[in-house]
């Protein structure tokens, strides 16, 4: 492309280009400039240093991570929860979308869709508070299970490490499954 063509095109698209500009500035300020801050990963940085005055230590910080058992514990938990979320949380919206698609248009279909994606609009802070309450010894789940005769004594499910992965995965699926169906319903 010749240089004059470029400027002719730019002039013709000027209103559109101006509309893109704020987005580009936002990206540069909040995504590209902070890349410079990543250099403290290779430095020994403390609160009294600036990013440029901290001394270089090379890959020392990465070497510490490889020997850190708390880090590997976090990796195992992350992968475990993520793979469960992928297995359950990825397939549920597809199945739900097919089920909703097969319903006759009417109030039932609309109610199901609305109810299934409503939890998405609650933040985790609100939803987490509800879950902590529900799983407590005098909460919804325990009351229900005791009255159904399924368990004898109330227990707090959230203080049992073994149940945490399941609670995390299922509550996430409950929150996001309905929202996820929208994109699949749109393609059918």
């Amino acid at each position: 492309m010749k240089k004059s063509d470029f400027f002719k095109k730019l002039k013709r698209q000027l209103p559109l280009q101006l509309m893109v500009l704020p987005g580009i500035i936002f990206m540069i300020v909040f995504s590209y400039l902070p890349i410079y801050g990543l250099s403290i990963a290779f430095k020994s940085f403390s609160v009294t240093d600036t990013i440029s005055s901290a001394s270089w230590v090379g890959l020392e910080n990465f070497r510490i991570a490889l020997d850190d058992k708390f880090f590997w514990n976090a990796v195992v938990n992350t992968l475990g929860i993520s793979f469960l979320k992928l297995a359950i949380g990825f397939t549920t919206p597809i199945i739900l979308a097919i089920l909703i698609y097969e319903l006759r248009d009417g109030w039932f279909k609309r109610v199901i869709q609305t109810v299934s994606y409503l939890p998405h609009f609650l933040s985790w802070i609100v939803l987490g508070g509800m879950l902590v309450n529900w799983f407590s010894t005098s909460g919804l789940i325990n009351t229900l299970l005791i009255n159904l005769g399924l368990i004898d004594t109330a227990k707090n499910f959230l203080i049992e490490p073994d149940k945490y992965w399941l609670i995390a995965v299922l509550s996430d699926v409950w929150k996001e499954a309905g929202w996820g169906t929208i994109i699949y319903l749109a393609t059918m």
Binding site: A65, N73, T78, P161, D172
Partner: protein
Amino acid sequence: MRNIIALMFILAVGGLLNSNLDQTLVLMNPLNSAKAEVINSYVYKVDLAQGDFSYATAVGLGISIISLGLVLITNKLTKKLNDRSVF
């Protein structure tokens, strides 16, 4: 439909190492933290609670690079199997 499923799958695999920090911080307590601590919350803890900024940045950067690798690998795989990809 197959297009969208492939696209969503590639994006989901890219998020494998990113767990939900909000959810973890709300549901985690000292008794279940051994199973609840994920990379995001560990970086948060080391960074802001212990003040070890360099180490936390190193962990975060390493995880980001591995995530990028995961996206590229899945993208290549779906391209091969399905002839469909994000890029």
